[in-house]
Symmetry: C2
Subunit: 187 residues, 2 copies
């Protein structure tokens, strides 16, 4: 478990005073397994910080649910495309297990950013980090074989293997579940 206050202090070296003021602008929600943080069709207007638990991003494609992303402890969850584009989201963000989230609305975030411009550093750093991650994922999907992608995931994010059911992992890796079973059986 990592509280938002601990995270802001450790990762961004904000003073305790500012950290507590920022954190107090967030609300708390506990989602039970399967509960939604965001539903397809909604206009996303919030950003959440996962204090503990695990979230899954799903997309409906041709009637099938595909896993697009995960959010674990210390991750931020939102659908930026819907937020910055002002368009309905095409994602579902659901709890994979009981998950505690601190969240803030878009308007409130703008408001406290005016009060504490340091938050812009945080936004730049985070969006650059998430950009790097998704660009890597795209390059791996375009250029690595299914087996190479699986091995890289095992090496870099071993916690995924214990937390996430295999059919969700297969979807995230762009691999058919039966192919993933074959790859895992090889080892």
């Amino acid at each position: 478990m990592t509280t938002l206050v601990e995270y802001l202090k450790n990762e961004f070296s904000f003073s305790l005073d500012i950290t507590e003021k920022i954190a107090s602008s967030f609300k708390e929600i506990t989602l039970e397994k399967g509960a939604y943080f965001l539903k397809e069709g909604e206009y996303c207007n919030k950003i959440g910080f996962v204090e503990n638990g695990a979230m899954l991003y799903f997309m409906n494609l041709d009637g099938e649910e595909k896993v697009c992303d995960f959010g674990f402890e210390k991750d931020w969850v939102t659908h930026i495309k819907s937020m910055i584009g002002g368009i309905p989201t095409d994602m579902n963000i659901r709890a994979l297990e009981t998950t505690k989230i601190k969240w803030i609305s878009g308007e409130k975030l703008e408001q406290i950013t005016k009060e504490f411009p340091q938050i812009n550093q945080l936004r730049v750093k985070l969006s650059e980090q998430y950009f790097v991650q998704s660009a890597e994922r795209a390059n791996e999907l375009a250029n690595l074989s299914a087996e190479q992608r699986y091995k890289k995931l095992v090496a870099e994010k071993p916690e995924l293997l214990t937390k996430v059911p295999q059919y969700y992992l297969a979807s995230y890796l762009g691999i058919k579940p039966q192919s993933l079973s074959r790859i895992r059986a090889k080892k």
Copy 2:
């Protein structure tokens, strides 16, 4: 052709005065076809704005050059992972044709951001935009068929088809060149 000054004024509504001060911190370079903006192994410490022309991002994988990204007019080019991580880049960024770029070093960017904190808005907006784009690319690679990916690219970025040789497109789409030929022949 879109100059950096025009871009900053139009996209970010900065005043002409501030726009010109920011733009004057950039240097200009013209790259001939094939010339490098960034080479594998270098520490990336610059960000460029493409005023006109076209840039390609390559990665060497198992001795093969794979295309990871493009940078066209009004795009920013850099390797953020190398820049924020302080690690050598694994990319080559080369000109696909004669390309005019305005660029700024990391240090200079930090310095003018202190002077003009408005630049943080620009950085937030850009990194969020690029994050959305690469997340979409990853989701398409994981979940759409080769033919669906090609059709989406044709619909959304028709300029790629005229500017970029087919074998580079195939690499970007994660499709074998001969499969892309088959898909194109179908139409």
